[in-house]
């Protein structure tokens, strides 16, 4: 694990004036709304206001419902991804897991397995796929970026092996519309959005208010130190990957029922959108920093922009440029802010490790 994570971004070490103080209960508050995610929260507020004011149909119940449905799968996968990236790892196989689960559901349903049973089998399959990632990362000690690039191809390939270029689309209509039904009859609030919200709260509590969450940050900051202070680093990572697979499987089931089809090329490339949303939400790719709130805002921000631009009549091409620029801006801004602050703060004479100038940093928290 390349050490010295977050040297530049959150802790302008010599200048404790403005930075969030690490120790104590204030830390929890700081991690809830730190420098890193306040831009995304602000951007989301601006985007929401702008869209409701200037885009005609945006604030209608129908459209909000459509918007929430379109981001539900990404939001689901982003939750465990947040925890994984906080520990300094990454899971690029989530979209392929989604597709393989969807294909499994299709094959099971075709062969006459009752759908309730098939759903549980799918979740178990997802857990197994995630566990395989976890074993490869923790037992064999392989870098998760490489492992999940491999399983991304493997799981997607297995989805093709199961379904080929066929589609299974004979799902019962009641199930297909189920996830889209409004919650308690409230228009604009699909049932799945409530489910995602509940899960998000659970993940937020897990990450920000439990010893387990605390240990995830410790692992991300320095997993060797975490290991020596008694954190079961490997077990934790293993369960995180298993959790990620299970949730991706849940997203796969939802996706299948939402669109009423299983296809092997489902959600192709979605893993990068999930990672983009997580990073946009202020989670550091080096681990140790991040919040569920920020990530959910990131997911929502991308969804709102996409939706508003579409309603505005702009093409999805523009959206791609905007997505890319937002992502870059979201990582550049905190750096610039930190630099400006560091430049303004009177530098103490005893600065031990000056910020390396104009040089690169390792691209992520992979370990050898």
């Amino acid at each position: 694990m390349p050490v010295a994570p977050e040297r530049v971004i959150t802790s302008p070490a010599p200048a404790p004036a403005a930075g969030p103080d690490r120790p104590g209960g204030a830390r929890r508050m700081a991690s809830l709304l730190s420098l890193r995610e306040s831009p995304v929260v602000a951007a989301l507020v601006v985007a929401l206001l702008g869209a409701s004011l200037f885009v005609d149909m945006f604030a209608s119940g129908r459209n909000i419902s459509f918007l929430l449905l379109s981001i539900a799968a990404i939001a689901l996968m982003a939750l465990p991804m947040t925890l994984i990236v906080v520990t300094g790892e990454i899971d690029l196989s989530v979209a392929s897991t989604l597709a393989l689960t969807s294909a499994t559901l299709g094959v099971l349903w075709e062969s006459g397995v009752p759908i309730e049973t098939a759903l549980w089998i799918c979740l178990a399959v997802g857990a197994g796929l995630g566990a395989l990632n976890g074993v490869l990362v923790t037992v064999m000690g392989l870098p998760s970026l490489a492992v999940t690039i491999g399983t991304m191809a493997l799981y997607r390939g297995l989805a093709y092996v199961l379904l080929g270029d066929r589609a299974v689309a004979s799902y019962p209509q009641s199930w297909v519309s189920g996830s889209r039904d409004p919650f308690l009859g409230i228009e604009g609030l699909p049932w799945i959005a409530v489910a995602v919200l509940v899960l998000a709260v659970l993940f937020a509590v897990l990450l920000h208010a439990t010893p387990i969450g605390r240990s995830l940050f410790d692992i991300g900051n320095n997993d060797e130190a975490a290991h020596f202070t008694g954190t079961p680093v490997r077990w934790t990572k293993f369960w995180l990957f298993t959790l990620s697979g299970t949730v991706a499987a849940g997203a796969g089931v939802f996706w299948t029922l939402q669109y009423g089809t299983s296809r092997a090329d489902t959600a192709f490339g979605l893993e990068l959108q999930v990672v983009a949303a997580v990073l946009l939400g202020g989670v550091s790719i080096f681990g140790g920093v991040g919040s569920v709130l920020g990530v959910m805002c990131g997911v929502l921000l991308l969804g709102v922009i996409r939706n508003a631009l579409q309603l505005f009549g702009l093409s999805s091409e523009v959206l791609q440029i905007v997505t890319g620029l937002i992502l870059i801006a979201s990582v550049v801004t905190p750096n610039l802010v930190a630099r400006v602050r560091a430049a303004r703060a009177p530098a103490p004479a005893s600065v031990s490790a000056p910020v390396p100038d104009s040089t690169d940093r390792p691209h992520n928290g992979e370990q050898s």
Partner: protein, 349 residues
């Protein structure tokens, strides 16, 4: 082809004792020999199964198929060695391919070499932007290039506006590039071989090339020992971009039809090829020979599957399993080398 690897190190960094150095050096060689062996066995077995596989046409298809991926993988290897990654190569290649095509449409009189150069230049500029972002603002490459992956692709979509450039828009002499044989191999493949040799020699024998390994192994240590890490990383990204541009030009010459979706999803295949060829994602390890061999292996598998009458749908699963096997093998070899190094030290003491 796989011999030079990392051997003649001018040992810019403190050299470990001789036996240890030899053991450490041997690893990449084993690694590339393994991939080479896999390619040879696969080709031989497929040929025995169906001699049509190595027909004149078959070989040419194989060469051309591997060329684009190999050129991309060589550039990616440069970046990976510095412990960075470039996810935007698919988009850069698409941008350059479309740029090449559109130049022929807008300026029909332009000489072919000028257009090709322009295509490479587009890639170079994209790579330069990546490198500058990564180094000057100290943003992790994974994030930057994930951003530019979308930005460049969006730019291409916006530019192309759903249109496409067809073969009849391009001059015959350009399209013929894919067919002209040089010493028996198609010109694009010859270009790829030239690129791999030049970059390989550079990495193995030039001080600035060796420094890329030092940066990837320990960027802080490299910086402290006076290596201009930022500049080297920018160069790696720029060269990678230029090679992605070259791949785009070759793509346009080979297929003749270019739209804004060229190269979509290619980035992970490229990283996969490099990883299969023994370039470690953790930086500091690997050669471009390995990366190119990895690309050849992936392409050969794709070409061989139908001949073994294995469903095409198995292809991606095989590629995935191969990546996992490659990084697993790498890990085992690394552990063995580490044990050997420890053992050697004990004997010496």
């Amino acid at each position: 082809m796989s011999t030079p690897t990392t051997a003649p190190s001018p040992s810019a960094t403190g050299a470990p004792p001789a036996p240890a150095r030899r053991a450490a050096r041997r690893r990449p060689q084993i690694r590339e020999l393994g991939v080479l062996l896999a390619v040879v066995v696969l080709i031989a077995a497929t040929w025995l199964h169906n001699p049509g596989f190595l027909s004149h046409q078959g070989v040419r298809d194989l060469f051309l198929g591997a060329t684009v991926l190999a050129v991309l993988a060589i550039g990616q290897a440069l970046v990976l060695i510095t412990k960075n990654v470039d996810l935007s190569v698919g988009s850069v290649m698409g941008l350059s391919a479309f740029g090449t095509g559109i130049l022929f449409v807008t300026f029909p009189g332009l000489p072919v070499p000028v257009v090709m150069f322009a295509g490479v230049l587009i890639g170079l500029l994209c790579g330069l932007a990546n490198g500058l972002l990564v180094t000057t603002v100290q943003v992790p490459a994974l994030v930057v290039t994930l951003g530019t992956l979308y930005a460049y692709r969006g730019l291409n979509h916006w530019w192309a506006g759903g249109g496409q450039v067809n073969a009849h828009d391009m001059p015959e002499s350009f399209l013929a590039l894919g067919r002209i044989p040089v010493l028996g191999v198609p010109l694009p493949a010859a270009i790829a071989v030239l690129v791999v040799v030049v970059v390989g020699l550079y990495l193995a024998h030039f001080r600035s090339g060796r420094e890329l390994y030092a940066i990837g192994s320990n960027a802080d240590a490299a910086r402290l020992s006076g290596i201009p890490a930022g500049r080297r990383v920018i160069t790696a990204f720029a060269v990678n971009g230029a090679l992605a541009g070259l791949a785009g030009v070759l793509f346009a010459a080979r297929y003749g039809t270019v739209d804004s979706t060229v190269g979509t999803g290619m980035e992970l295949q490229v990283v996969a090829a490099a990883v299969v060829g023994g370039v470690a994602i953790a930086g500091g390890v690997g050669t471009v020979y390995g990366a190119a061999l990895g690309a050849v292996l992936l392409t050969t598998i794709t070409a061989a599957l139908p001949i073994w009458q294995i469903d095409q749908f198995w292809q991606q699963a095989v590629v995935g399993a191969l990546i996992l096997a490659a990084i697993g093998l790498d890990r085992l070899l690394a552990l063995r080398t580490a044990r050997k190094l420890r053992g050697g030290g004990a004997r010496g003491a």
